[in-house]
């Protein structure tokens, strides 16, 4: 994890530079607070990097979940599919997009017992339709082909 801390710290400092320059062009006091926060972030990032090099202070194993390459693959694949389907929801409609998403997650998550999964998804869609579309008047159905 120590290399993650170092890369994150260095990345944050590098990221802060263009924002710092941008904030310098703001009129009056508009750039004062953002610049102050960028200094604080850089100082903390530097402290995180320094800490990772001092054995007595370096944090032990941390972070949630698993840390194998395979463990990252599934969440990122689900996120990518979700992103594509959200972008496509204006073309195919919201509910169609969510049904495709549910179906796409079957191979990604390796769902073997597809019947309870399908039933759960069906109940979910009905619940969303009844609560959000009928009761709360959220125009989810306007996200459909031709709208």
């Amino acid at each position: 994890m120590l290399w993650v801390n170092r890369i994150t710290g260095a990345g944050l400092i590098l990221l802060a530079i263009p924002f710092w320059r941008m904030a310098g062009d703001y009129p009056d006091m508009a750039g004062l607070f953002p610049r102050t926060m960028l200094i604080v972030i850089c100082a903390l990032a530097a402290a995180m990097i320094v800490r990772s090099f001092i054995p007595a202070l370096a944090p032990a194993n941390e972070g949630e979940g698993l840390f194998t390459r395979a463990a990252f693959a599934r969440p990122l694949a689900v996120f990518a599919v979700l992103l594509v389907l959200i972008a496509a929801s204006n073309l195919i409609g919201f509910f169609a997009a969510m049904i495709v998403l549910s179906a796409a997650m079957v191979p990604i998550l390796g769902v073997t017992k597809w019947r309870p999964y399908a039933l759960g998804c069906l109940i979910l869609m009905v619940f969303v339709y009844v609560l959000f579309v009928i009761f709360l008047n959220v125009p989810l159905t306007t996200l459909r082909p031709g709208s």
């Binding site: 009056d28 979940g65 599934r74 689900v78 759960g120 869609m125 709360l136």
Partner: protein
């Protein structure tokens, strides 16, 4: 007369229905390990937009209390705390389950949670109004120092890594500056986008940071089901504890409710710290109990009464000073602002009816939670057998719908997704999302206070910021929290290294 009007208002069908929905939702969320009260309140927040503010806040606070209580179900049943606040419950609760006394443990957990919750609601009713007077003494420097104090407390406690917690809070403050500057009208960090000129929405960010990130984490182990062991038979089901059981736990419940109530007031110190502190105290007072730690109802009672006692008291600094006592309370602060209410003295004067109705509703919700919880407790085993894959689909779809329903536009959905991915990566790297959320909420207040202090300062800004006893106290407390958290972290790291 005003008291009767408040009670009558709580008992209207709309408010009772909102309370019931919040309690049932909270019980379901809390009972599922990995799904926290933060996630539940964040998911339900968009649903409350069309509601009147009283119904909305009753629903959200009911969900908060019920979720903390329901965390005891999987802790007792499966040795898997539903929320971090129920971790201490798992020790004696699961031991009772192994002894075949599952129903007894649930009964004690329910009774203790209700007692702790009611105590915290009464505390809120009694302590909050006088404390709100203090908010009248706050000027720009005090508000700035208050924001710094809130962030240092939650930043140092949230992830167990002080630097990362503070960094997350500072990033939240920086994100809050995106959009039009309120004084000059100049667009900041908008990159020519009209959507970004309106700022980054707090609610989509919360849904992403808490809900979508949780779904992505669950994707790592989609085949896991919540229940991994066979449920033991347990004793006979009863709605109320027996007289003998009450006699055994009454002192523990009272003491733990006090501890939880006190700890809950401290910003950043939530149910998990409260329950462990109470559990340790109960252990000290139960030297003669050979079962303590091996299936004692005192252990369950201590943890459960304390964690529910933190729920109401966490709202004391929230309602009076605008500083949330827990991450969930931070989301509740957002809910208050969304419904057009500002924390502080006005909540107890101009909006007194609203505030007292919500508090009385919260008190009643704790009782309702107990009855429904005992009823549902018998069937919790079914829910615990749901596979992760179904939960992932539920959370992902509800996150998208919740974000879209905020303003019926796709910008909020993309914001939610961006923060969902950011939240996932943050949690993998042990950056807690809670300080970031708090930073986004407190950002405008902190910036306003900072800028006004810079303008008003007659000399060095630091001296102006520390120009009043309140500011000095808040600065000293911020420093104390950083130093003490740093020291504790150093000791913990050293101990972990020594243990190999």
């Amino acid at each position: 007369m005003e008291v009767l009007s408040v009670i009558a208002d709580v008992l209207t069908p709309a408010h009772l229905l909102a309370m019931l929905a919040g309690v049932v939702g909270g019980l379901c969320i809390g009972a599922l390990p990995g799904l926290t009260s933060n996630l539940g309140v964040a998911l339900l927040l968009p649903v409350t937009f069309g509601m009147d503010p009283i119904s909305a806040l009753i629903m959200l606070t009911s969900l908060y209390a019920a979720a903390i209580y329901a965390g005891s179900f999987p802790a007792i049943l499966l040795h898997t705390p539903g929320t971090s606040a129920s971790a201490a419950t798992a020790i004696d609760g699961f031991a009772l389950t192994r002894k075949g006394e599952f129903n007894k443990a649930i009964r004690i957990a329910t009774f203790s949670s209700v007692c702790g919750g009611v105590f915290s609601a009464l505390m809120l009713l009694v302590i909050a109004p006088p404390l709100s007077l203090l908010s009248l003494k706050f000027g720009p420097p005090e508000y700035f120092m208050l924001a710094v104090f809130g962030l240092t407390i939650i930043g140092t406690l949230a992830s167990g890594n002080m630097i990362k917690g503070l960094m997350s809070g500072a990033a939240g403050l920086a994100i809050s500056t995106v959009g039009l500057d309120l004084d000059s009208g100049f667009p900041r960090f908008a990159f020519g986008s009209t959507d970004l000129q309106g700022g980054i929405g707090f609610v989509p960010a919360v849904i992403g940071l808490f809900s979508l990130s949780q779904a992505l984490l669950m994707c790592e182990e989609p085949h896991r089901t919540i229940q991994q062991v066979k449920v033991t038979a347990g004793g006979q089901w009863r709605l109320f504890p027996t007289r003998d059981e009450i006699r055994q736990i009454r002192a523990t419940v009272m003491r733990s409710s006090l501890i939880g109530g006190f700890i809950g007031i401290l910003p950043g110190a939530g149910g998990d710290i409260g329950s462990w502190a109470a559990y340790n105290e109960a252990k000290r007072f139960s030297r003669n109990d050979p079962d303590f730690g091996k299936g004692s109802i005192r252990g369950v009672a201590a943890s459960e009464s304390a964690n529910n006692a933190t729920t109401g008291s966490a709202m004391v600094p929230l309602l009076t000073l605008g500083i949330p006592g827990s991450p969930t309370a931070a989301i509740l602060l957002g809910a208050l602002i969304i419904h057009g209410l500002q924390p502080g003295r006005t909540l107890f004067t101009v909006h007194a009816h609203f505030t007292y109705t919500v508090i009385v509703g919260f008190l009643l919700a704790n009782l309702v939670m107990g009855f429904i919880g005992m009823g549902l407790g018998r069937y919790m085993g079914v829910v615990a057998r749901l596979p992760n894959s179904i939960l992932i689909a539920v959370v992902v779809v509800l996150s998208v719908v919740g974000a879209f329903s905020l303003g019926n536009n796709m910008y909020d959905v993309y914001t939610m997704m961006a923060f969902g991915l950011l939240g996932y990566l943050m949690r993998k790297g042990n950056f807690s999302p809670a300080p970031m959320v708090l930073g986004m909420i407190l950002g405008p207040m902190a910036e306003q206070g900072f800028r006004q202090s810079v303008i008003l300062a007659d000399g060095p800004v630091v001296l102006h910021l520390l120009g009043s006893p309140i500011s000095i106290t808040l600065a000293a407390l911020s420093l104390l929290s950083i130093v003490s958290a740093g020291y504790l972290e150093f000791k913990r790291t050293k101990a972990a290294r020594a243990a190999g």
